[in-house]
C-alpha cells in the first residue's frame, strides 16, 4: 500500500486499498454466522445482547457500504513513516491558518483513527465550524502500533511509554517544535506518558480519561459526593464487564484467534466496552436512534477497519504491554508531570473524574471542565463539543514561547 521507497526517516504518502476479495470474505463470514441462544436477561448484565448484535450483522450485510472506510480515509492526507522499527500510519491535516497550534491526538481501544475523523474539520478549520481562526490546530492522528493501518510490532516492549517516545519523534520529523497532545482511553495513557517524558517542544496536554485513577485510586480523596460516586463507578466497571480488560492484559493471543476469525465475535467484543457506550450503540442498531455522532455507519467503519486490518490480536497486545509495564513500575514513582495539563470530564465516561482527582494526579492542572454531554468516545460521539474543549483547554498555551 506504500507508494514510495523507504529511506531512513522518510515520510511516505499513503492510500488505503482493501481488495474486494477481503470484503467478499467478510460478507460471507457475516452471513454464515452461527449464533448462540439469546441471553437470559433483559439488559447488558450477561454481555452484548443477541438482538443488538443481530441487528448490527443485518445492517452490516444489507445496508452498510463496505467502501466507506477506504473512501473516508483516502479523502484525507495519510502517511506512513518508520519509527523504532514499526511503520506508523497517520493522518496529517495542516490548517490554513498560519498560527495554528500543532496537536497530536491518540485514539484508544476499541477505537482507531475513525473515532477522530469528525473532529478534523472543526479543529483544523474552526472558522467553518463556528470557531475563530485563532483556535486552529494542525492535526496529527496516528494509528497506535498494532492498530488499524500501523504495522503490528514484531517484538514485545511497545507499552504506552514507548509509543509516546515514537510520537515525539513523529512530531519532530514533521518539523513541529512546539505542539500539544491529547488522548482518551489508551490514548490518555500515551498522552500521560508523553507528558512525563516531556520531550522538547511539548507545550501541554489534554486528556479525557483519568488513566491513573483507573489503575489505582489509592491516595485520591473520597469524601465528597462526586468523589464517592466516581469510586463507586470504578468499582462497578471492574466487576461488571471487566473480563475484556483482564483477558487482553493476560491472554491477548487467546482472544485474538476469535477476533481474527469471526466478524461477529469481533463486533461483540468491541461493543462490550462500557455500559454507557454500549447502550448508545445498541440503541443505534436496535431502535435506529443514534446518540450524537455514534451512528451505525460510524460504528461499523471502526469494526470494519479492525476486521480488514486483522488487528484484533495485535491491538489486544497493547493491554498486555500495559499490564507488564504496570507490574514493572510497581513501587517506583513515575517522573512527575510538570508541563500544563488540561482535563475534561465527559458525563457518560466510565467514571466522572472529579476536579480534585485530576488536581491530585496533575498538580500542573491549568484547565478542568465537565462537558454537558458525551461519554467514553467523546471525540467520536460529540465532535463539536469535544472540539470546544480542545480550543478552551489549549487557549492559554497559544502564542507563548516554548519553555
Amino acid at each position: 500500500m506504500s507508494t514510495t521507497v523507504e529511506t531512513g526517516t522518510s515520510i511516505r504518502s499513503f492510500h488505503v486499498d482493501f481488495p474486494d476479495e477481503q470484503i467478499d470474505d467478510l460478507r460471507r463470514r457475516i452471513s454464515a454466522t452461527r449464533w448462540p441462544g439469546k441471553e437470559l436477561v433483559a439488559d447488558r448484565s450477561q454481555g452484548v445482547q443477541l438482538e443488538a448484535l443481530q441487528a448490527l450483522a443485518r445492517y452490516w450485510l444489507d445496508e452498510y457500504d463496505f467502501g466507506r472506510v477506504e473512501s473516508r480515509l483516502n479523502a484525507l492526507p495519510q502517511y506512513v513513516t518508520r519509527i523504532d522499527g514499526v511503520d506508523i500510519h497517520f493522518i496529517h491535516v495542516r490548517s490554513e491558518h498560519e498560527d495554528a497550534l500543532p496537536l497530536i491526538m491518540t485514539h484508544g481501544w476499541p477505537g482507531s483513527v475513525i473515532e477522530l475523523l469528525e473532529t478534523i474539520g472543526p479543529l483544523t478549520d474552526p472558522t467553518a465550524h463556528g470557531g475563530r481562526a485563532e483556535d486552529a490546530f494542525h492535526l496529527v492522528l496516528p494509528s497506535l502500533p498494532g492498530y488499524g493501518l500501523s504495522a503490528a510490532p514484531a517484538e514485545v516492549g511497545w507499552y504506552t511509554g514507548r509509543v509516546a517516545k515514537a510520537w515525539a519523534v513523529l512530531m519532530e520529523r514533521l518539523g513541529y517544535t512546539r505542539y500539544v497532545a491529547q488522548g482518551g482511553d489508551q490514548g490518555a495513557a500515551v498522552t500521560d506518558d508523553l507528558a512525563r517524558h516531556a520531550p522538547a517542544g511539548l507545550a501541554g496536554v489534554h486528556m479525557n480519561l483519568l488513566r491513573n485513577a483507573l489503575g489505582n485510586t489509592a491516595g485520591l480523596p473520597v469524601s465528597s459526593e462526586e468523589e464517592r460516586a466516581a469510586l463507586q463507578a470504578l468499582t462497578t466497571f471492574k466487576s461488571s464487564g471487566f473480563g475484556y480488560f483482564l483477558e487482553q492484559t493476560t491472554r491477548p493471543q487467546t482472544i485474538g484467534y476469535a477476533l481474527l476469525d469471526s466478524p461477529v465475535a469481533l463486533a461483540g467484543w468491541m461493543l462490550d466496552h462500557d455500559t454507557d457506550s454500549y447502550y448508545k450503540i445498541a440503541g443505534a442498531f436496535v431502535d435506529g436512534k443514534p446518540t450524537g455522532n455514534l451512528t451505525r455507519d460510524h460504528i461499523l467503519d471502526n469494526v470494519t477497519l479492525y476486521w480488514l486490518t486483522g488487528t484484533g490480536a495485535s491491538a489486544a497486545r497493547s493491554y498486555w504491554e500495559g499490564g507488564h509495564a504496570a507490574a514493572q513500575a510497581t513501587g517506583k514513582t513515575p517522573p512527575p508531570v510538570t508541563i500544563p495539563v488540561a482535563f475534561t470530564t465527559f458525563p457518560g465516561e466510565i467514571f466522572r473524574a472529579p476536579r480534585s482527582w485530576a488536581e491530585k494526579i496533575y498538580p500542573s492542572l491549568v484547565y478542568f471542565n465537565e462537558a454537558a454531554r458525551g461519554g467514553h468516545f467523546a471525540a467520536w460521539e460529540e465532535p463539536e463539543l469535544f472540539t470546544e474543549e480542545m480550543r478552551a483547554a489549549f487557549a492559554s498555551l497559544r502564542g507563548k514561547e516554548s519553555a
Partner: protein
C-alpha cells in the same frame, strides 16, 4: 434422537447423532480460519501459542476421525429426562456386581462427559481393571444443563445449587436410595451443593477440587487462623490468581459476549478451552506439538471434547454457569450455605490449580473421612489419569459401603 420412553419416570434412551452436514460445516470453518500473527513471546504468557493451535487445527482437519465422538458416546447407555424444565442428558452404566454403590460424577468446564468416559470401565467393572468386585459402582454421568447434549436453560437461576437439586431428583428417579457423589471443577461446586443439600439417599461426597474455599482465606489474605506456613501462603497466592483470570472474569460477567466467539469460530472455541490452566495447557500442547502424550490426554480425546462443544453449540450456555456461580458467590458471602455434615473424601492431584492443604479441606468439610495426595494428575484428573482417579474413588468411598 430418542428412541424409547419409560413413561413412569420420564426417562428416554438417547443416541447421539452428529450429521454429515454439521461435520462438513465444521471442517470448512477450520479450513477457512483467519489466523492472527504469532504471539511475541516464547512461552504461553500471551495465551495459546500459534504453532500449537495451528497444529491442533491441522490434526483436527487431517487426522481426527469425526465419527469418533458419536461412536464413543453411543457405545455407552445414554438417556434423557426432563427435570425442572431442562432436558438432562446422562450416561448410566449399571455394574454387574449386585452390591455396587451408585455414584453420580459431575464434569466441569471446559469439560464434559467426554472427560469421564475412561473411568466407566474401572469404576463399574473393577475386576477387569485390577480392582476388587467389592469396589464396584453403578455410574451416573450427567451433562450439566447447557453443556453437551443436555438442553440449555431458558431462564436464569441454574446455579450449582439448582443443578444439585436436579441431580438428587435424577438419582431418585433412577431408584437409587443410597448413593455417593463426586466432582472436580464446576462439578465440585455441584457436588458441594449436593452435600449441603443432603438429599435423602446421599451418603457421602468426594472432591478433587476445593470449591468451598474457606471464606476467611479470601477475606483476610494472611488470615492467621488458617494460613500458617510459607507453603500455605503460596497456595493462597494460587487461589487468588485463579480468580484473576480473564476467562473466569469474562464468563462470570459477560458470558454472552464471549459466547459469540465460541459458537462462531471453532479455532476461537479451541483456544478459549485450551487456555484453562498452565499445567493442562502444557500437557495438551506437548501432545500436539511434540507428540508426547501425558496420561490419557491424547490428541483424539482432547478433540472429542472440543468437537462436542462445537457440535452442540454450547459455548455461550456453558459460560452462563460461571455467571450463575458469580451471582451465587456474592449471595453466599452474605448468606452462607448450610454446613456440610455428610462424610467427605478429598484427593489432591499434584498438578491441580492449587494443592489444598488438609486443614483447609477439613475447615469446609468437618467429617473428612478420606484425604490423599495422588502421585500424578492435574486439573482434569479423571481424564488424565483414569486408573489413579478410579483408585481414589474406590478408597474414598470404601468406608461408606455397608458391611
Amino acid at each position: 434422537m430418542s428412541t424409547a420412553t419409560e413413561t413412569a419416570t420420564g426417562i428416554e434412551t438417547f443416541e447421539a447423532e452428529i450429521t454429515e452436514e454439521q461435520i462438513d460445516n465444521l471442517k470448512r470453518r477450520i479450513e477457512a480460519t483467519r489466523w492472527p500473527t504469532p504471539e511475541l513471546v516464547e512461552d504461553a504468557s500471551q495465551g495459546v501459542q500459534s504453532a500449537f493451535l495451528q497444529e491442533l487445527a491441522r490434526y483436527w482437519l487431517e487426522n481426527y476421525d469425526f465419527g469418533r465422538l458419536e461412536a464413543r458416546l453411543n457405545a455407552v447407555p445414554q438417556y434423557m429426562t426432563e427435570i425442572d424444565g431442562v432436558g438432562i442428558h446422562f450416561i448410566h452404566v449399571k455394574s454387574e456386581h449386585a452390591d455396587a454403590m451408585p455414584l453420580i460424577i459431575t464434569h466441569g468446564w471446559p469439560g464434559s462427559i467426554v472427560e469421564m468416559l475412561d473411568v466407566i470401565g474401572p469404576l463399574t467393572d473393577p475386576p477387569a481393571h485390577g480392582g476388587d468386585a467389592a469396589d464396584a459402582f453403578h455410574l451416573v454421568i450427567p451433562s450439566i444443563p447447557g453443556y453437551g447434549f443436555s438442553t440449555q436453560p431458558t431462564e436464569t437461576g441454574w446455579n450449582s445449587g439448582r443443578v444439585a437439586a436436579a441431580w438428587a431428583e435424577l438419582m431418585s428417579r433412577l431408584g437409587y436410595i443410597g448413593y455417593v457423589a463426586q466432582g472436580g471443577d464446576q462439578g465440585a461446586g455441584v457436588t458441594d451443593a449436593m452435600g449441603r443439600l443432603a438429599p435423602t439417599g446421599l451418603l457421602g461426597v468426594h472432591f478433587n477440587f476445593l470449591d468451598a474455599i474457606p471464606k476467611e482465606l479470601l477475606t483476610a489474605p494472611v488470615g492467621p487462623r488458617i494460613v500458617f506456613s510459607h507453603e500455605e501462603r503460596e497456595q493462597l497466592g494460587k487461589v487468588v490468581s485463579v480468580f484473576m483470570r480473564g476467562y473466569i472474569s469474562e464468563m462470570g460477567e459477560h458470558p454472552q459476549t464471549i459466547g459469540y466467539s465460541l459458537v462462531d469460530s471453532p479455532i476461537g472455541l479451541a483456544a478459549w478451552m485450551l487456555d484453562h490452566d498452565a499445567d493442562s495447557y502444557e500437557k495438551i500442547r506437548k501432545a500436539f506439538v511434540d507428540g508426547e502424550q501425558t496420561g490419557n490426554l491424547s490428541r483424539d480425546n482432547i478433540l472429542d471434547n472440543i468437537t462436542l462443544y462445537w457440535i452442540t453449540g454450547s459455548g455461550a450456555s456453558t459460560s452462563r454457569l460461571y455467571w450463575e456461580t458469580s451471582k451465587g458467590a456474592a449471595a453466599s458471602f452474605k448468606d452462607p450455605p448450610p454446613h456440610m455434615k455428610l462424610p467427605a473424601g478429598f484427593t489432591v492431584f499434584p498438578d491441580e490449580l492449587f494443592q489444598a492443604p488438609r486443614h483447609w479441606v477439613k475447615h469446609s468439610y468437618h467429617d473428612l473421612v478420606y484425604y490423599n495426595e495422588a502421585e500424578k494428575g492435574g486439573h482434569f484428573a479423571a481424564w488424565e489419569e483414569p486408573e489413579i482417579f478410579a483408585e481414589e474413588i474406590r478408597a474414598s468411598f470404601r468406608s461408606l459401603r455397608e458391611g
